[in-house]
């Protein structure tokens, strides 16, 4: 039952072949059986999940149910959930029970889906391996000595091990796509502004975007339908109609122009990963696409630019964690200064502190022009060159990550080495473009991911391209043997 697509589950529910309560119990049992090993969930919401499932069964019985009614899912623990702990994988918010729901949570609940629980992640979404979580690292279901990627590592592991049919993630520099690549999932980071950020705990506000992490493109399209849309409570939300993302899944790829940036295939890319990507590209040629080599010469600026913009914004966003209104508070503070300093120092982990300090430094008096202004200018260069490329090609393809999943602990002592895990994904966040990762094969038994980057609001096209590829390949159907 856990290897079925959302459409298959929906059909079973609507035909009465299974109830939502049964389905929900099935996944709760799987979480019970496997979560100790994987650490994919921070909170499991058994009681509320079963209550939501019972309500879904009522709707199914009354024929008022929608396509997603009664299907279980999991939320990354960055989305505020009313009455449920929302920790962001930080000691700072270990006891934080949100007084309200994020818009994404509200919309998915309104579609009738059942929330199984909240998934593990890097602390405040800062990391590429899920090792900065206060609740410990998540293990990759394909090899439990390896990382699942990050920051949405818990969502990735949960879906890969089929502890949940689908999950939400967020992506600031690759946090949906890189773990999707490392865990053999289909993950989509939409255009900036497509999905509301209201109630999604902010890391870098100009880069953060939520999206689905799924077993296949059709599932991702279904969740996109439920998640997307304008929200007046998010000032950067875009007022633009949401298409039915499932309607265009089967469109022909005849004549599709694919650009391959030579900078995405250079030094640092594992040759075995490169080989799987090249094979995948050939598949698209068979489907009628044409291939063109392009150049994005400012690609090398993306990681340096990101490590100014993201820390600057995070240092500002995380200033709200001060031990006064919510979250961790130090005991017996001497004075106000001591209250702030000790609450924050006790509540934040090392990577979060590093990024807050970098952000504080680059924004401090006298350094603004050299760092922040320069970074915003570099951001324009990166964005402009994508637009030039889109004059010649419809989509851009390349690897999602330079390697397959690395070993736990391999990069924890070297922040900069960890940052380079996102070398191919960061540019799209800086430009605000949609990007996707889809399973593209295996290298020594570990999954690889093909990245597809589109122009603004081309999510439907990306899902269509992914779906057509998944009609003629079966990489996305592979599940780790231990969790089959």
């Amino acid at each position: 039952m856990h290897n079925k697509t959302l459409s298959e589950l929906s059909e079973m529910l609507h035909k009465g072949e299974v109830t939502s309560v049964e389905l929900t119990r099935h996944f709760l049992d799987r979480i019970k059986a496997h979560n100790t090993e994987l650490n994919a969930f921070i909170s499991v919401c058994e009681e509320s999940a079963l209550a939501q499932a019972a309500a879904a069964d009522e709707q199914l019985k009354n024929k008022t149910a929608g396509k997603l009614t009664g299907i279980p899912m999991a939320h990354k623990d960055i989305f505020c959930t009313k009455g449920v702990r929302t920790s962001c994988a930080s000691k700072m918010l270990d006891s934080f029970v949100s007084p309200y729901d994020a818009t994404v949570v509200e919309k998915i609940a309104a579609s009738g889906m059942v929330m199984l629980g909240k998934t593990n992640m890097d602390e405040f979404a800062m990391g590429s391996s899920n090792e900065t979580s206060y609740y410990g690292p998540v293990k990759n279901p394909w090899d439990t000595d390896r990382v699942p990627g990050g920051s949405s590592g818990g969502s990735a592991a949960a879906v890969a091990a089929r502890l949940a049919p689908i999950a939400t993630g967020t992506d600031t520099g690759g946090s949906i796509r890189q773990p999707s690549s490392l865990c053999n999932l289909t993950g989509l980071k939409p255009t900036y502004g497509r999905i509301s950020r209201y109630g999604m705990i902010a890391f870098a506000s100009s880069l953060d975007q939520a999206g689905p992490m799924a077993a296949n493109a059709e599932d991702a399209a279904l969740l996109m339908n439920a998640m997307s849309g304008f929200d007046e409570r998010d000032s950067t939300s875009v007022e633009r109609e949401v298409p039915d993302y499932t309607a265009t899944l089967n469109d022909s790829l005849e004549g599709l122009r694919i650009g391959l940036p030579k900078e995405y295939f250079g030094e640092g890319l594992d040759p075995q990963v490169a080989a799987t990507i090249e094979t995948a590209i050939k598949e698209f040629e068979k489907l009628g696409a044409t291939i063109k080599e392009i150049s994005l010469p400012n690609t090398h600026l993306a990681v340096p630019t990101y490590y100014v913009v993201a820390p600057a914004e995070c240092s500002s966003n995380l200033s709200r964690m001060d031990g006064v209104r919510f979250g961790h508070r130090a005991e017996n503070p001497r004075d106000l200064q001591d209250l702030y300093q000790r609450s924050r120092s006790e509540g934040f982990g090392a990577e979060v502190k590093r990024r807050i300090m970098i952000g504080t430094y680059v924004l401090s008096a006298g350094y603004y022009d050299a760092y922040y202004l320069k970074a915003q200018q570099c951001r324009r260069l990166i964005s402009d060159e994508f637009q030039q490329a889109f004059n010649e090609v419809d989509v851009i393809m390349g690897p999602t990550a330079p390697t397959t999943a690395f070993k736990l602990g391999e990069k924890t002592d070297d922040p900069v080495a960890m940052y380079l895990a996102d070398i191919y994904t960061i540019s799209t966040n800086l430009a605000g473009l949609p990007g996707m990762s889809i399973p593209a094969g295996f290298a020594e038994g570990l999954p690889t991911g093909l990245q597809i980057i589109g122009n603004y609001f081309d999510e439907g096209r990306l899902l269509n391209i992914a779906h057509r590829y998944q009609q003629v390949t079966n990489w996305h159907k592979q599940v780790p043997a231990a969790f089959a």
């Binding site: 007084p99 590093r354 300090m357 200018q377 922040p415 605000g432």
Partner: protein
């Protein structure tokens, strides 16, 4: 330039963080490595480039000046570490 221990302590103070004496050297090393990475931006010629604040060059939306939020003080304060008579408590700041 390179950050020394006292720079790190100053930045930590600005960020309202305390770094244990024993960890300051490690933070200095890591922050310098990150800043070295960041310095690679210097190679780009950006003299004529306007900074990009938003990918879609969006403008701030306006809304009618009407009340949309309702008083939820009790709910919000129920998760606060320390409150009294409807206010948040902090250590005394005025003698």
């Amino acid at each position: 330039m390179s950050l020394n221990k006292s720079d790190v302590e100053k930045i930590a103070h600005l960020a309202r963080l305390t770094i244990d004496e024993a960890d300051v050297a490690d933070y200095a090393r890591d922050l310098n490595n990150i800043l070295n990475l960041v310095e690679q931006m210097g190679a780009a010629d950006t003299a004529e480039v306007s900074p990009m604040a938003h990918p879609l060059d969006a403008h701030q939306r306006l809304r009618p000046d009407i009340v949309t939020e309702h008083d939820q003080r009790e709910l919000f304060q129920s998760i606060a570490p320390e409150t009294e008579a409807g206010v948040y408590l902090v250590p005394k700041v005025i003698e």
